[in-house]
Amino acid sequence: MLRIVPSGSALTLQFSSLMADDRKALAQGLRRRDPELLDRLIEQYQYRLFRYLVYLTASRDRAEDFFQETWIRVLERGHQYDGKSKFEAWLFAIARHLVIDWQRQKKVQSLDQLTDPEQGAPLQLAAENEPSPLKMVLSHEEEAGVHASLERIPAIYREVLVLRFQEELQIEEMATLLDTPVSTVKSRLYRGLEAVRQAMQGGAA
């Protein structure tokens, strides 16, 4: 249990060591393929992982498929989690790779190349038969405007926006997860934020 001590730095130190212990225990549990632990993790991270996948794929159905497949991978490759990094960053990296692999199977080169507007047309992951996939995700009318704005933003920007402003990951953590230099992550965040602002203004106008 976390014991509160007056000094801020000591508290930080104790807290980080507790986190490290937790991660170590988590890594051991994943190595053992502990079913109870996996059940708990699925419950605990369901919303965050699903949200990340919805942002990444722009499709609720695909996000559901990738969600399940991600946890199967966590089970199979749990021994690869070393307990040094944040579990959620490792989890999102698995999910991201699954999406990229799926894209590659569809005869494309990589998510980054497809989604980076500087290198060509932005990725549209929506299936041909789905009229407006992102709209299906949101049920509230007042959120439809936000949603419509996000639809106009390339996936590569949506991804960094969700990681930074909803998951609140550090830029360095994002760089590791995305296997991208810190400068590129920052650049995507700058452009993504500007894009979302413009898209929302466009939607409001």
Partner: protein, 162 residues
């Protein structure tokens, strides 16, 4: 005020939200925003966009966690069933390799002796020795590849809506 000042203010507005800014930059920006209505509007719009983004809710599909837990447990059971076989295969390979190495000088002599009594050319019994060494490894490799191919086919899946 020239365009460069506004461009700088715009960059700092975004930088502040993305990675933070220094105290000097914050002071400068605050002063600029008090004087410049268009940059102040831009800062406000950026904050509104961020607020909307953070407040956006994505409803979870009903039963998603339960379905996933069920699939994960099934897969775990499959893995538990196949793993002892795989381990046994690896163990057999390792033992076979160790025995092969340990017995190589004797087998070499045995092949040499066979060559002498049958009058076979040297190259023939040497090839025989080579095959004696490589065939089990090739068989083991083939089994491994087949196992892997089977596993990949089993875990292959197609997302809905494809």
């Amino acid at each position: 005020m020239n365009g460069k000042v506004h461009a700088l203010a715009k960059r700092i507005i975004v930088q502040e939200r993305v990675e933070g800014i220094s105290r000097e930059e914050r002071e400068w920006l605050g002063e600029h925003l008090r004087e410049c209505a268009s940059c102040a509007k831009l800062a406000q719009e950026t904050d509104e966009a961020l607020r909307s983004l953070r407040g956006m809710a994505i409803p979870l599909p009903r039963g998603l966690a339960a379905q996933t837990q069920f699939r994960v447990r099934l897969r775990a059971q499959e893995l538990r069933e196949t793993e002892p076989r795989r381990r046994l295969l690896w163990l057999t390979c390792a033992m076979s390799w160790a025995l092969g190495v340990a017995s190589a000088p004797y087998v070499w002599k045995a092949f040499e002796w066979l060559g002498q009594i049958t009058g076979a050319p040297k190259i023939v019994w040497q090839i025989g020795f080579g095959l004696w060494w490589t065939i089990p490894a090739l068989v083991a490799a083939a089994i491994m590849l087949l196992e892997n191919a089977k596993q990949t086919a089993e875990s292959d899946w197609t997302p809905q809506g494809k």
